[in-house]
């Protein structure tokens, strides 16, 4: 019996669970990782393991540095020098910092060379560039998205279109913001990213790493071939992802039946894992870094290990204007855009992808 139906609705949310094998030709795990550009946090959980394996440790420590540039005007990205040396050379990620997608103007430069501007109505109208109303407007559009493809030939410096965009961003409304920038390029010595914004206040950061060892954690039994679980034998994927959340957030899973506070407990069937290693990296992380981590975890199982599986969870920026590739992203209530791999010993994997109310279905 529902008495207050209007109070019992909650915002739409989507969770996609996939199972496949890394060796499967059609497996799209690499596409999913490469298409999720703006990653804020990644955490790795390895059961039955006291310290972080050395292979992983060296990768974690070698994750690219990122820059926080203060008050950087957007037209600078379009300037010929920057465009040729940085954007077109590939894989430069930039995202405006401390801008909230539901109230501020938010900008992102994708590694493919697309510049995405998510603007409120007033700025959009002042700017006078062509864009689309945001998909998640209410009846009256209050937010617009402009996508400028910098890699496109029609936008080469000197063309009319280029001049028009440049004029709008430089003379008409000079949009500025603090930016997070990072670039994946092994031959960085040729033209370091930092040389491009010496005129501005900037700071270099290294992603922060924290490692902790958990002990005697109850842990659900899962079987890679049964996403929906089997009665009495293994847990389903939803139970597992809830448990994974509980462990990463440091929630107690051993509640007594009589406790007043919480009824959550680890789903059955379960085993006790003696030790587990949880490593969290926070920063402005590039998809390439994540992919390296994923490959390294796969190699962890090259030698026989006690752990039946390990997990890799990636959180996206909740205020980024895109989630996967160019799919529009909004905040609404949670702004989640995240994915999580469960990597099994035999190269099978589960992949969870979750998005919130203002987001398209994950790819």
């Amino acid at each position: 019996l529902t008495m207050l139906t209007d109070l019992e609705k909650c915002p739409r949310h989507l969770l996609v669970c996939e199972k496949s094998n890394f060796l499967n030709e059609k497996s799209r795990h690499d596409v999913h990782v490469a298409g999720h550009y703006f990653n804020y946090k990644v955490s790795v959980l390895i059961p039955e393991c006291g310290t972080l394996p050395s292979g992983l440790k060296s990768i974690v420590n070698s994750i690219a540095k990122y820059y926080l540039v203060k008050n950087f005007p957007i037209y600078k990205i379009l300037e010929e020098k920057f465009l040729e040396k940085q954007v077109k050379a590939g894989s430069l990620c930039a995202l405006s910092y401390k801008t909230r997608i539901d109230q501020d103007n938010t900008f992102a430069l994708l590694p493919t060379g697309k510049l995405v501007l998510s603007l409120d109505k007033d700025t959009y109208e002042d700017l006078g560039l062509e864009g689309q109303p945001s998909q998640y407007n209410h009846k009256v559009p209050v937010r617009y998205v402009i996508t400028v493809d910098l890699a496109d030939k029609s936008l080469a410096p000197g063309t009319n279109k280029y001049k028009r965009v440049m004029w709008a961003l430089k003379e008409k409304v000079q949009l500025r913001s603090d930016f997070l920038m990072a670039k994946h390029k092994p031959d960085e010595e040729e033209c370091p990213l930092a040389s491009c914004f010496t005129d501005y206040q900037y700071k270099e950061y290294k992603p922060s790493v924290s490692t902790q060892t958990l002990s005697d954690v109850p842990c659900p039994v899962i079987h890679s071939k049964h996403l929906k679980g089997q009665a009495e034998e293994s847990c389903d994927s939803q139970e597992f992802v809830e448990w994974l959340g509980a462990v990463t957030a440091g929630i107690e899973c051993n509640n007594e039946a009589s406790t007043f506070l919480s009824t959550y407990c680890c789903p059955d069937p379960r085993i006790i894992m003696g030790k587990a290693c949880l490593c969290t990296v926070t920063g402005f992380l590039l998809p390439e870094n994540i992919y390296q981590l994923l490959e390294e975890i796969r190699h962890y199982f090259d030698e026989p290990k006690f752990a039946p599986w390990s997990t890799l969870t990636v959180h996206g920026f909740s205020d980024s204007p895109v989630s996967w590739s160019t799919a529009e992203h909004g905040f609404h209530k949670g702004g989640e855009n995240m994915y999580s791999f469960v990597i099994f010993r035999n190269d099978d994997y589960w992949l969870y992808m979750a998005t919130g109310a203002h987001d398209a279905c994950p790819p």
Partner: protein, 120 residues
Amino acid sequence: EEPASYERLVLKNASVYHYLRISLVFQDSDKRLSEAQFKQLIISALRDLYGEIGAAFPFDVLKFEENTLKAIIRVLSSGLVKLWSALTLLGSYQNEPCAFRIIQVSPLLLALSGNSRDFE
């Protein structure tokens, strides 16, 4: 052992629960309360706004930090709006002015382990 075949499940609005990360703030900051008092405070907030029938739904305090008065709460999705509004309208505890701040809300517990809005 043969490899797992490809399978994709799309779960739309499938989460039974919603999770909230909240914190309780007092006007004068040295007030302390225990986990049980904290849960009782939320229950009384619910009862004030939605009465005995309206507030009769379960929720769990998954985690509570006594020093910072921060908590993670799990609630049935159908009770999310009620819990949220009751927390918002709560104004005092034992005649001390206080307020709940809702920091993060998500249908996925895993999402609460990262909040890019307090990224420094």
